[in-house]
Symmetry: C2
Subunit: 403 residues, 2 copies
């Protein structure tokens, strides 16, 4: 049982309670949060301008692509996709143990206790099974060719089974349907059925680019050329709203949604879906900026993630929310800052189905601590100053253990 | 005489020439840039994926405010201004030698060789006169009360004279008229006359906030309340276009311009003025984003600066242009990246009247070197990858001397 004391505790509870000169007691779980708590054997005051808050959660990554630095082509979604296809093998071959370690280390330094990983091959399993951070491992399916649907599905099933063997306190399994344009509806149904049976969370990319919008709506645009070139298959296989409806009665997070319209956002809310916002990735592929107001007005608590190093220069989640804070120039920085801290803690925890993301009794003791450069005069500005001045944390506890 | 060799040399000349496997020879000035140049005694190859480019120039700062971290109120221009007035003394008293050193050190690490400093009191002179970086020291005038115009002017003159005594290779003097809303037109004329006589560059804040727009256009809005509260004086003293016209036949940079209209931007071009863009500062005061397309369409080569720590969390100029790259979500990242590197080198040099900012024969040898994380497959992407992957530089040369 440890007691930590800090000048500021952000609980991220439903009231967004901030406790000045607060204390937290925990073992593997959080036991108590407040002021002047019971005495314990081990008590640590974290120092002047110290902050305690829930550890961060990076809901959506592709660590398989962590070898990319300057190889892939940024600035246009389809050009980027072409470059991914061209260089995929080279990137995968060059991302081995050291590469995964570095990626995880960068997240860890920034206070990330858990991440959602999209696995397209299953090869990353060996590198992630001993991760010091919690992993939600999304086995991904991709493929539209009806002739190979069965083969793809068998491979997918084998990967799901393999990953399920590793399930533990720190390793959870999920499934991923790559996107509405890249997976055959037969496969979608099969995968969603497994998720329902085994109660696995789902992630799917949705409306990331204008090309996707044009393709799914009208079978036109850049994706038409792309499909004709790569797969001959040149007809969209599902309507966007029909796609969303398939995920009814599951726990699904829709990644990106930059080009999702009002009706679709509304539908996502209707099925209790979540949205992941990856602002830097969207920017580097030049697809524009998600309308966060629209998402909020529909009552969806979005989360924020880095995406993979295939479309980002960093996996540091504080850098990502600082970027988000700067990029959404029409939103008030003080209130956006509050939302962004929620986005990478409690909202991300809900999306991944984890028992963390807030400092409340009974939650996993996934906690970070760090110091601000000086006293915050007006406590209302605390979330903003945390985002402006924090890049790496001092301590990170996962299930109550400092790592 | 030194020769440096690198995998990539960005000359920032008028053709935006990039030399692969290039070389540069310099002493205090640049002697030659190209490939396979003459032999010299001292030759250094900077290593795999190394880059040589002109050192950066931070055209607009307020180092007097460098003590601020979490004190001032962000999110609204007028609330911020109120907090500046309230805390000005505290901030100034707490920024002494160490504080200036830190501020300069942060710029230096990011590859800044020169900066424009707005000095409101002259007290910073003692801390800046031995700066390892080049300084363009803008003595600022502020004040609208006709009763004290003479006193303000005498104080200003004394500061100008004091700073002129320090003029050297690395220390240049300029003047600053705080803004169109805060300086009496009589003072403007006097100060502009001095600038003309002594050939000093000028900086002035212009159209930073919507409040300023409303005030100068109609004598209305938040500034009306602000002036009534603080100065009783509640009438705008000059029209925006008339203000810009005063700077004809000077070398003037207009800072911010977020709310400048087409006519004003056009007028700035007409008098050969420059524009400084401070995206992070504008964001933290929640005034919106400068329309860079409008600026470019009017043929103005803008520069980018950090502004002071009164409205930024960092003076690192690479971080600033990375933020700009992310924030301007409607501009193509690849082409914006090219412009942003120009903005902090050659464009900033022109604005400050310095003989650097590009690697060309006869220019001051103000040079930075650093390494990219990997080879850039497509050379067209070099500016983008430099901005994404560089935060601090390896070597910084000022007038040919490594510092």
């Amino acid at each position: 049982m440890i007691k930590l004391k800090a000048d500021y505790i952000l609980t991220m509870d439903s009231k967004y309670s901030i406790i000045e000169n607060g204390e937290i007691i925990f073992d593997k779980k959080i036991i108590e949060v407040g002021k002047n708590l019971q005495k314990t054997d081990k008590e640590i005051y974290l120092g002047k301008n110290s902050v305690i808050m829930p550890a961060l959660i990076n809901s959506h990554t592709h660590l398989e692509f962590s070898h990319n630095k300057t190889l892939l082509n940024y600035g246009d979604f389809i050009m980027w996709l072409d470059s991914v296809i061209e260089n995929r093998e080279e990137l995968f071959i060059n991302c081995k143990s050291e590469c995964y370690k570095k990626a995880i280390e960068e997240m860890k330094k920034s206070g990330v206790c858990a991440f959602g990983e999209i696995s397209s091959t299953g090869d990353d399993l060996r590198y992630l099974k001993h991760s010091p951070l919690k992993v939600v491992y999304f086995n991904e399916i991709i493929g539209t060719n009806p002739a190979v649907v069965d083969m793809l599905y068998q491979d997918f099933l084998a990967r799901v089974e393999e990953s399920l063997k590793l399930e533990s306190e720190k390793f959870k399994v999920g499934v991923s349907i790559h996107s509405a344009y890249s997976v055959h509806p037969i496969l979608m149904d099969k995968v969603i059925n497994i998720a329902k049976t085994k109660k696995l969370p789902i992630q799917t990319h949705f409306m990331e680019s204008k090309a996707e919008r044009n393709w799914l709506d009208k079978g036109e645009g850049e994706f038409k050329l792309f499909f004709e070139k790569n797969f001959k298959n040149a007809k969209p296989l599902i309507k966007p709203v029909e796609f969303i409806e398939k995920f009814k009665n599951t726990n699904t997070t829709f990644i990106h949604c930059v080009y999702a319209n009002e009706k679709e956002i509304n539908k996502i809310k209707e099925i209790d879906g979540y949205i992941s916002h990856c602002p830097v990735s969207n920017r580097l592929l030049n697809v524009g900026l998600l309308d966060l107001e629209k998402v909020k007005n529909n009552g969806i608590d979005y989360n924020v993630a880095t995406d993979g190093l295939s479309s980002n220069y960093s996996l540091n989640l504080f850098k990502e929310i600082r970027a988000a804070l700067l990029m959404h120039t029409t939103l008030h920085p003080k209130y956006l800052a509050k939302d962004l801290l929620k986005a990478v803690t409690i909202n991300a925890a809900k999306s991944l189905g984890l028992n963390n993301g807030s400092l409340e009794k009974g939650k996993d003791a996934d906690i970070i601590t760090f110091k601000l450069p000086s006293k915050v005069k007006n406590i209302e500005n605390l979330p903003l100053h945390i985002i402006l001045h924090t890049t790496n944390v001092e301590k990170l506890f996962v299930n109550g253990k400092e790592i």
